[in-house]
């Protein structure tokens, strides 16, 4: 057992940390977020040049052969800076599906661009009725000669607005709910019949509702096998949850530390707020929740690397705790800042909103608790 990062990982951590410190103050973030494309294409290019986009890809695909720990290292620092660039959508999710299910031809066509940052991906898995259930898919794909014709709607798709290619889950057989019969398609964002309705999200990111109307996709653009896409979907979701967990832990760290700082500076009743015991204890609780999330994050990440299937239960545990503790920490950071905490001017509100969105991405605390109980 060893919790030390490798030298290489420590270097990445330091680089990302420095990058975030140098480039991501609140004003910059707000400015980037408020206009299209909602992040900095320049930063994205730098991230590619620094090698971060290639981390989780095999060396033969042009990547660095890293694993979930490398992604954790990056995402935790991204969480501390509330980074807007689409690492999760393009690299972890879109790229994760492509590397797992893409044919050699498809991979060599797409992955170099993904790793170089010139081609962006999105991952469309949720639907209006599905809520957080990955196996609830109504979008249909009907075979017509060598092609599939897709019809349906995808919801809350991150980075769809700027993506060049979108991975879409669709049903090729079976009823609305069920793992069997789900197929993953890689669709060009400008494909005929695909429309995107883009909108901002509470955390300063963007998402889209996607409508598919008789979109024709060639069979060669299927990721994995027909009807057998669920395993890839689940693995991608698991990687995404670990990445979100790391991002959330980074955000929690900023929230509790900012609160500790603020209460030492702010005086009321002729004392710094930090001298009031009830506030001290609250901050201790925030700190403990953060540490517990970090522990479970390490646990879930290492178990996933060792045995992904057995780790499923721990991933639900992680996301339960991340959801619950994230909101606890966010709510109390605001509470202890008083009126100042309610303003857009301080960064804590922005971190709180990101944690709120993370809790609604692959399932909220309640959802994961229920999932957890299904494993005995």
């Amino acid at each position: 057992m060893n919790f030390e990062l490798s030298d290489e990982q420590r270097m990445i951590q330091q680089n990302v940390e420095r990058f975030v410190e140098d480039n991501y103050d609140l004003n910059t973030r707000v400015a980037l977020s408020s206009k299209s494309p909602g992040f900095s294409t320049e930063y994205w290019q730098s991230m590619a040049e620094l090698g971060w986009l290639g981390l989780p890809f095999e060396e033969e695909d042009g990547g660095f052969g890293g694993n979930q720990i490398d992604v954790l290292v990056v995402m935790e620092q991204f969480g501390r800076g509330l980074v807007l660039e689409p690492y999760l959508a393009s690299i972890v999710m879109g790229g994760g599906a492509l590397k797992r299910g893409g044919s050699d031809a498809l991979k060599s066509e797409m992955l170099p661009g993904v790793i170089e940052g010139t081609l962006q991906l999105a991952f469309a898995y949720a639907e209006m009725q599905s809520r957080f259930d990955l196996d609830d898919v109504m979008t249909s794909a009907r075979r017509e000669d060598e092609n599939f014709i897709l019809n349906g709607q995808k919801s809350m798709v991150q980075n769809a607005e700027t993506a060049d290619q979108i991975v879409v889950t669709a049903r090729t057989s079976g009823g609305q709910i069920g793992q069997q019969g789900i197929t993953l398609f890689l669709i060009a964002a400008d494909a005929e019949g695909l429309t995107r309705d883009n909108f901002p999200t509470v955390d300063g990111l963007r998402a889209s509702e996607i409508t598919l109307e008789n979109v024709s996709v060639g069979a060669e653009r299927i990721l994995g096998k027909v009807d057998q896409g669920f395993n890839i979907l689940q693995s991608v979701a698991n990687d995404a949850m670990l990445a979100l967990g790391a991002e959330a832990v980074g955000a929690m760290e900023v929230l509790y530390k900012d609160t500790v700082d603020y209460t030492q500076q702010r005086e009321q009743f002729d004392h710094p707020l930090s001298e009031f015991q009830v506030l001290q204890h609250r901050m201790v609780d925030m700190f403990m929740e953060y540490e517990q999330c970090k522990s479970l994050l390490y646990r879930a990440t290492m178990e996933t690397i060792q045995d992904p299937e057995a780790a499923q239960r721990t991933i639900h545990a992680l996301m339960h705790l991340i959801g619950k503790s994230g909101l606890f920490i966010g709510e109390n950071a605001v509470q202890l800042h008083g009126g100042m905490g309610m303003t857009e001017e301080l960064r804590i509100g922005h971190y709180f909103k990101r944690l709120l969105a993370i809790d609604a991405t692959f399932g909220n605390a309640d959802y994961h608790l229920q999932k957890f109980t299904t494993f005995s």
């Binding site: 949720a126 209006m128 009725q129 599905s130 809520r131 957080f132 919801s155 809350m156 709910i177 309705d197 909108f199 901002p200 999200t201 509470v202 955390d203 990111l205 998402a207 509702e209 009321q268 009743f269 002729d270 004392h271 009031f276 015991q277 009830v278 506030l279 909101l327 709510e331 605001v334 509470q335 008083g338 009126g339 905490g341 309610m342 303003t343 857009e344 001017e345 509100g349 709180f352 909103k353 709120l356 969105a357 609604a360 991405t361 909220n364 309640d366 608790l369 229920q370």
Partner: protein, 390 residues
Amino acid sequence: MDIELSTEDLAFKAEVKEFFHDNQMKKGEDYFSWRSRWFEKAKEKGGWDVPKWPLEFGGPGWTPTQHYIWEQETSRATLPFDLPFGTSMLAPILMGYGNKEQQDRFLPDIRARKVNWCQGYSETGAGSDLANLKTKAELSEDGTYYTVNGSKIWTTAAHMADWIFCLTRTDDSGIKQKGITFLLFPMKQEGIEVTPIITLGGSHTVNTVHFTDVKVPVENRIGEEGKGWTYAKGLLQHERTGLAGLSRSLVALESLKENARSVVRGNGTLMDDPGYKAKIAELEIDLMASEYTELRCLASASAGAELGPESSILKLKGTEIQQRIQKLIVEASGIYSPAWGDQSVGLPFAKGGTAGYLSSRAYTIFGGASEVQRDVIAKNVLGLTKGSTK
């Protein structure tokens, strides 16, 4: 003790129901003309436009039971919006400490909802420790007016207000609580600058307000110079009971259930989800208890007892209930809760729900932050003398 409604109470209940029914907004009617008409009709009923005002000031003089019935029925009806600053917050001060002339001058317009008021208490250095306020009011040599300089922060609705009731410092030689003076003055005048503060819910409700040499005639001072703290403290208790918002929570709980029923889960809806259902039930139980805590407060108040520190319980419980309701709306919205901006995406209640949740975080901050409220109960109710607030 007896929960049975008397024949009179039953008749009252029917009368209230009928009133709400008869005065609903008509199709195509202008909102503001309906609002004015509603308050006029309520006034004609004998003070129903100002239910909490005492009889001698034109209130209805209801029994606690009648207040309870009213609250219950308001939660089932749609009433015109009403900001608390005039009718619930300033009016009791005017009645308690204002002179006859001030009462005659201000109460009628407050009652008619003609003049919008805002509350100028908090400052950057004076939040929970309100007595630390520094906005300066200097009496002119001839003793006819004050000159006000300084800034207020978090002033709700200052950008829409005609008048402000404001705590100012006229003396800083003694303890903080002494030397505070309660002034009323118009907002739309030279020397007052209002700057918006955008809060997490994305909306503009609070402001900073700067005063530069604002002249306020002494006739606009409530009570004596230097005694403003005593007057304001009484008002804070009124503010707190008002903030519990129980009848609003009753309405919100119902619509929460309705929304949850519209979220399909498997063969049922979110309301069939055991975890979600349990949270709603817990919420409802707390709300049921709080309703009766409020009723007990009302009863002791109408028996002549001062509105005491028990009112802090209501503020704490009531605001926490409101926050839990907001959180459950976010949970019901599922994947759609992060949707933001102008357009509506997915579930119709999702977007407003998240903004509402974020805004609701302020409920445990304003009107006495929860930690400070607990301190007040510890000191004043439990008699634990060494609190951290003064």
